[in-house]
């Protein structure tokens, strides 16, 4: 599965990226995950199954959905899970979102 994490500068999402990688390794899930700045997300959509936005850039969710024409599911990460960098839970929710699509 390929996930794209997006926040303003791709900095804080890179912490989340690390946590989700750890979680995926534990669960033995094959995960390709990348953290990018909002201004560059269009260039990184190849083969992406899910896009996750940091809560601080949730204002961009409609723009992101418009750009991807609804083809890729988009989720704003719950702010508490983001603050606690709860990679386990966010990964589970992402997998569920992709399956339900």
């Amino acid at each position: 599965m390929k996930i794209l994490l997006v926040c303003f500068a791709g900095m804080s999402t890179s912490i989340m990226m690390k946590k989700m990688k750890e979680s995926a390794a534990k669960k033995k899930i094959d995960l390709d995950i990348n953290a990018v700045p909002l201004s560059k997300f269009q260039d990184n959509l190849d083969g992406v199954n899910a896009i996750l936005l940091g809560p601080q850039v949730r204002y961009a969710v409609k723009d992101v959905e418009k750009t991807t024409e609804g083809k890729i599911p988009v989720m704003v990460i719950n702010s508490v899970d983001y603050g606690m960098m709860n990679g386990d839970k966010v990964l589970d929710e992402t997998i569920k979102m992709v399956k339900d699509k």
């Binding site: 601080q56 603050g83 606690m84």
Partner: protein, 440 residues
Amino acid sequence: MSHTKLQTVNSFAENKLLPVANKISRQRHLLAIRDSFLTVLPVTLLGGVASILSSPPVGSKPIQATNLFNKFLLAWSGFANHYSSVLSWLYAVTLGSYALYICIGIAYYLAKSYKMEPFIPTLTSLVCFIIITAVPGELSFDKKEILINYFDGKGLFTGMLTALIAVELFRFLKNKKVGYIKMPDTVPPALTASFEALAPVIITIGAFFLANSIIVNITGNPIPKAVLSVMAPAIKSADNVFVVFIITALTQFLWFFGIHDAAIGTVVGPIRDHNLAMNASAAMAHQSLPYIFTTPFWVYFVVIGGSGATFGLVLMLMKSKSKQLKTVGKLSFLPSLFGINEPVLFGVPLVLNPLFFIPFILAESLNAVISFLLMQFGIIGKTYIMGGWNLFSPIGAFISTMDWKALVLVIALIVMDTLIYLPFFKVYEKKLIKEEEKEL
């Protein structure tokens, strides 16, 4: 604040603030400007290096080679004097040509945002920029002299406007198919593309050339000088402690709702960078620095440890008896050193937590006000070097000012911020510990 009140406030944020934040921070032209400023950073950093090398921190008093440190300073001074022309040249082609590079960057990103092949519009903007910004001296066959003193901060707004106008004009002409030459299908697409652009490029550059000739002939001054005479008084008057206080408080107000301050940064950022470039040029010319509110001022003196000036708070979190706060503290410490504090904002949380509303706005605003006033009164040196966004604040403060007192100031501000957060932190910690005990 009661729970329902908080919900009202939150829905105000979601319904009213978010759309505005989105509009401003996703606006095409502003976005191109912001991306350009972010991307040319390596070049400006190099300019900062030239600046540092050519300004050893020695005062007007002569120093004696009594100890190793003074010997080092003397050697540095000697180096700076001996190589001053080389260092000035390095500066002139980096930060000293800031406007040129910003113009190229904006044209590139704006063209890209329109999904145009960016090379031709970027090149067109570059030619337009040189036409109106360089001042020709002698232009013979074997000797060409142009003055590039508007390539630096002084030409920044001209450079930004040039890129925006040139790309828009080019795009307009191309969409209207002005001078479009229909090629037979057998002609390679690349060739067709270059023919397509022919008339739009010539007309765009021609328009700038004509405008420049007319304005220079009438006023006797190059265009950047006119632009500057309009912009400079406004920017100079905005460089005061009240405006900086309001910008800081507003930034924090947005962050209180968990909204990134991109909308404010997008508008204020170019002004901060302009001020930095002007200070850098003044420093290279050994003149007094004109501006206080610059990008390094913001990054190193105001946002210490991330939005909300939370560095001191993180230190308290790490030692907290609440499990949740301790977890957040440990998670946040390293990122906080580099000014990243989303775990604190969303994990404590500070966002939408009425208990922290006051310190969250107060700490950072006071950092801004105190630093500003100390610089205004000449007690702390002003900033003229940008050392990268993620430099630890006290070190960044020193490098950006080359004044050791700046380092002391930032450490003092961290202590102050800690004390501002302390009472609120204690109340919140107590509440969490109680809740955590209940859960057991």
